[in-house]
């Protein structure tokens, strides 16, 4: 027993020395969790831009299926950087996950859409009654589906809404198990060729006052230890966004290769999502500045209120909680450079 205690003390001391060493100015490795969707993170990844900013650091990329899984990865401390849509962000921030929002990854338009089975003759939301509709629960599209139904006063209990991940939706669609689904590219493209058409898009919902987006987040621990590396990460992602905007043809090629798609599909998907240049992200429409937060805070509060009404959140957090979550300082540093 004594031996055990001694050896565990020894181990503990060893560990603390080790972590003191790691406290130097450079992380040994950086893990980026990226969502399996179409945005400039694929460009950054493919061109190795993060690696170029961080020479000598091992960069790991982990593909994550959706917001719910990303939350789990963050809660389990498995990533240093991640990406979250506004509903998972609202959930994570309300539940006190140790993360900060540092930049806009993308604004969602028809890259996330509801498809309906053409042969089922669905013309309006009302026609969904009695049908089976799939969406990845906890994600942006699940949120928009529930919002769209609530907006028109349709009881969600009048239809069967099931939780499927995008890839499983494509599978279930091919088997004919579901009549409609709100999800995202690239899985969306596979479904569109099979008795399906776009019925609603996330862009249409944004026009109705329900914008959805993905925000880049960093773990607090990482940001405290290596603030410079957060800047480096933001720099790399900004370069990826610029590349996307300036070189659409090459970007389409990259996305087609990364996701194993046909070139014309990649080009179509690209148009469905908006990349915001980093300087523009600091305006009121997006994350705003350190002095004055932008409309992202309002979106997060509105999203929280909705999730609370759906009993998905135990409370609606104070405005200050969301203001503290969004930290434009890294982006400001990078844009000024």
């Amino acid at each position: 027993m004594k031996k055990l205690i001694l050896s565990s003390i020894g181990m503990w001391a060893g560990l603390s020395i080790f972590s003191a060493g790691a406290f130097a100015d450079k992380p040994e490795e950086v893990t980026v969790g990226y969502l399996n969707l179409v945005n400039a993170q694929l460009v950054t990844k493919s061109l190795g831009l993060v690696q170029k900013e961080m020479p000598g650091v091992k960069i790991n990329y982990i593909k994550v299926g959706g917001g719910g899984d990303m939350l789990r990865a963050i809660a389990g401390n498995q990533v240093d950087f991640g990406g979250l849509g506004n509903p998972p962000t609202a959930i994570g921030v309300t539940r006190g996950l140790p993360i900060q929002g540092i930049m806009v990854l993308n604004m969602l338009d028809f890259v996330e859409s509801m498809v309906v089975r053409t042969s089922k003759n669905i013309k309006k939301l009302e026609d969904l009654k009695g049908k089976t509709i799939a969406a990845p629960f906890g994600s942006t599209t699940h949120y928009l589906l529930m919002t769209a139904l609530a907006d028109e006063g349709i009881d969600p209990a009048s239809m069967k809404i099931i939780d499927l991940r995008p890839n499983d939706i494509a599978l279930a669609w091919a088997r004919g198990d579901i009549d409609a689904a709100w999800f995202w590219e690239p899985a969306l493209g596979a479904v569109l060729k099979d008795d399906a058409h776009l019925f609603m898009t996330s862009g249409l919902m944004a026009a109705r006052g329900y914008p959805t987006w993905d925000v880049g987040v960093v773990m607090n621990d990482f940001a405290e230890k290596y603030p410079d590396y957060v800047n480096k990460f933001v720099t790399a992602e900004c370069k990826g966004i610029d590349f996307w905007i300036e070189n659409p043809a090459e970007t389409a090629q990259i996305i087609a290769t990364e996701l194993g798609l046909a070139l014309e599909d990649a080009a179509r998907m690209m148009k469905g999502t908006e990349m915001v240049p980093c300087a523009k992200q600091l305006t009121d429409q997006y994350i705003g500045t350190t002095e004055k937060n932008g409309q992202f805070v309002d979106t997060l509060i509105a999203t929280s209120e909705f999730l609370f009404s759906q009993k998905r959140l135990p409370l609606v957090a104070e405005r200050s909680v969301f203001e503290d979550f969004i930290d434009p300082s890294y982006l400001e540093t990078v844009v000024q450079q």
Binding site: A75, G96, D163, L164, D168, A172, R175, D177
Partner: protein, 286 residues
């Protein structure tokens, strides 16, 4: 009148004494049987949990306080979680488990007896069972969803397949372990194959088959969450999976406790069934 009073008093006394004796007896039983060790280990865990959360040593996202889990339990039991109350969630899951378990018994026990008594049957079925037994349930599930869809049948099939090998293997073991003297004795008395199975194999292998059934039920239980991940809207496994997405760890822990307790309960029921239907096993097993 007085005697009546006395009688009542003495009656009351004797009830009190009897109660005290019974209480002492129970206490003594708990002490001498070593049950207090089990009570102690459970109490230690619960106290540690309480202290850790009371002194704020753990982040409540990962380890919510016991009282918030109890509160959640009450809320889910009365109001429900996402459209179904706790009983409905338990009912949905138990239905899936029991159907799969019954199917596994109906298919597994006869197949096991057949494979244990006939060498050719063993040769035919063994490679199939040995091949799919170690496959991870989620890998198998993907294929089952492709074949059977996202509805109830793929869930039941997954649970059934995960419960089947345990029963078959235990049954084969049980049948081959029977003392050959019993078989010879029965044969010398003129028993045919069916009489042998009915009179010797089944009664003799009962206890081991029961163990196999208990193992199989345990396996089905461990796969429940996996089976309810895809396109379920109710069930304890689904509730755990869904609430984890919303970081509702109090629901997750509550669900796990309910799952554990119902699992223990079903195991006890199986044991009791065994004692009732196989009285000859009472001597061997407690």
């Amino acid at each position: 009148m007085q005697t009546n009073q006395q009688a009542v008093e003495s009656n009351g006394m004797s009830i009190a004494i009897r109660l005290r004796q019974r209480a002492l007896g129970t206490l003594a039983n708990i002490y001498y049987s070593g049950k207090y060790l089990s009570i102690l280990s459970v109490a230690t865990i619960l106290t540690a949990w309480f202290l850790v959360s009371y002194y704020g040593l753990a982040n409540p996202i990962f380890l919510p306080a016991p009282e918030s889990v109890i509160k959640t339990f009450w809320q889910v039991a009365t109001v429900g979680y996402q459209g179904s109350t706790l009983l409905e969630h338990i009912g949905t899951s138990l239905y899936r488990i029991l159907v799969a378990f019954l199917l596994a018994c109906i298919v597994g026990i006869p197949l096991g007896v057949l494979m244990g008594t006939s060498r050719s049957a063993h040769r035919i079925f063994n490679p199939i069972i040995e091949f799919y037994r170690p496959l991870p349930p989620l890998g198998l599930y993907t294929l089952l969803v492709m074949w059977l869809g996202i509805g109830e049948s793929s869930k039941l099939a997954l649970l059934f397949l995960s419960g089947l090998p345990g029963i078959i293997i235990a049954t084969i073991q049980a049948v081959t372990d029977i003392n050959p003297n019993y078989i010879r004795a029965a044969k010398s008395l003129g028993a045919g194959r069916w009489a042998l199975i009915r009179e010797v194999y089944l009664p003799g292998s009962g206890p081991t088959i029961l163990t196999g059934m208990r193992i199989s039920l345990g396996f089905i239980y461990t796969v429940l969450v996996a089976a309810e991940i895809v396109a379920a809207t109710a069930g304890i496994g689904w509730m755990i999976w869904d609430s984890a997405k919303f970081l509702l760890s109090d629901v997750v822990i509550m669900g796990l406790i309910v799952l554990g307790l119902t699992g223990m309960m079903m195991d006890q029921i199986l044991k009791i069934c065994g004692k009732i239907f196989m009285p000859w096993t009472r001597i061997k097993r407690s």
